[in-house]
Symmetry: C2
């Protein structure tokens, strides 16, 4: 789908604890830095739908497993991220996004090009977009 | 200690899963964006010592608990971060850093002002700096 990309990111094994790349200034999909924050999502629960007008999301899941659904008013695309299917998805503005927690504990990081502002996003109730969860 | 600061960061409670602020472009201690990566550290294990010449670290711990020790060749300072003692520490360059995993699983994020490069850091063995772990 136009505006959504998955990038495999490197995991560096270390006997004391692994290192997981997220994003560099030079990475494809990097659109500047505005804010970094974590979101958690409980098992079986869905957050969404939300559409940003300006924010490009760069998402990775280091703990648990999360299913992201992106909707462009015509079609849906799903991406399932976890530590074992590790990588980053870049989601450009103007796409509807919802996500569901699959693991017991689920952690998402977003490296966003702008700081959070309620003015640049709109929400729809889960039922307002016809997707079979 | 000069060059090290702790900032309390906000946790936004949400019945579907909480949100944890890490850092914004406008935050104190933000020195530009070069790279974001995760480090894990196993329980009871210490990684260190490492000193960066150019990198400013911005560290937060969303999972587990981690004890960070900073050394400026004169004195030591310790910071223990976790989801329950949540916040961010900014560590400027030219300070020795080591850290120990306390929780069962421990996750650290670093929002760094430059991308990783082995040229701008030096390492010492754990025993080379006399600290009682």
């Amino acid at each position: 789908m136009l505006g959504v990309s998955f990038y495999k990111e490197r995991i560096i094994s270390n006997p004391k604890g692994d290192i997981f790349h997220i994003i560099k200034k030079s990475s494809d999909g990097f659109k500047g830095f505005g804010e970094a924050y974590f979101t958690t999502i409980h098992q079986g629960v869905v957050k969404g739908w939300k559409r940003h007008f300006k924010m490009t999301l760069n998402l990775a899941v280091p703990v648990g497993e999360v299913e992201f659904v992106v909707y462009n008013e015509t079609e849906f695309e799903t991406y399932t991220l976890s530590a074992s299917n590790y990588g980053r998805i870049t989601i450009e503005p103007n796409l509807w996004v919802a996500f569901r927690g699959i693991g017991e504990d689920n952690l998402i990081i977003n490296i966003a090009n702008i700081s959070h502002s309620p003015d640049e996003a709109e929400n729809r109730e889960l039922e307002e977009i016809d997707y079979e969860w």
